[in-house]
Subunit: 178 residues, 2 copies
Amino acid sequence: MTISKEIEEAIIESAFIKSYKKGTVLLEEGKISNECYFVIKGCIRSYYIKDGNEITTDFFTEDQSVTPSAYGKKTPSAYYLECIEDTIAGVGTPEQETEMYQKFPETESLTRVLVEAIVTKQQNSLAEFKMDSPEERYVQLQKDRPDLIQRVPQYQLASYLGVQPESLSRIRKRLNKK
Amino acid sequence: MTISKEIEEAIIESAFIKSYKKGTVLLEEGKISNECYFVIKGCIRSYYIKDGNEITTDFFTEDQSVTPSAYGKKTPSAYYLECIEDTIAGVGTPEQETEMYQKFPETESLTRVLVEAIVTKQQNSLAEFKMDSPEERYVQLQKDRPDLIQRVPQYQLASYLGVQPESLSRIRKRLNKK
């Protein structure tokens, strides 16, 4: 799918580009969400707090978009979003999105196609998480997103992979020997 | 979001309504997918085969839509879709979808909104799967989709919840005692 130069410029103009320091919390549990993000540079982490422990559910890096479950709704967020690196992002709001769809209906097609691609990716993520052992998940991550392994604190990576930090270091040692 | 009577009728007219006998395989691993489904009555199960074992990843029942990851693409499917009950479904194809969007651009807005809702639901599913113990998953399923527990074979429900069938019966016994 291609978009015209005119629409591309309108998208760029209408999005606010913001930069955030490492450690900035973009969204808190219990809060209303009125912003979605497109990561230009940096890394945003989503996590829940359950029984006092952080459970990391995703990392969003360059060229990935983050739309909170609670975005544009009146319901409070169940999780947190935090910049774990200095981050530059395009920031969208429901009002700006609506205006864009009215002005350039083609952008709604574009969004549909992008969102459908996200659905496919998520389907695969859930299926893989169900099927794979923690070691297989780590090997898959090495293939799919090798940068994450370098960029991200180990305890966050561990809960993302659904294991304890000690299990993650055992997995790494085992794989290094192979 | 509301749609006009005219569009509603056009959607109904353009979809093929088909009925399938229990056991019908709608999609096989390795095959190209050119159909998506909207379940009117019945149940479609998605599953992978890994090391000779079936891993059930989802059940789609009344008013849920199933869009295979491979739908409308040239890539083969990684999983199977099977009707585990006699099923009546609306069947869509990429051609019919494109025609609909051209004729009634509002239907593309509708699709975007629906697909965004699916993204939210999937985000939650993956997060819950990561966070919850098998017993918590079962309790959540009792709340969210109590009908599934009655409709679905236990070994399929077990792999859907990420446990062995024996663990599932232990969980049920434990919960019955409470």
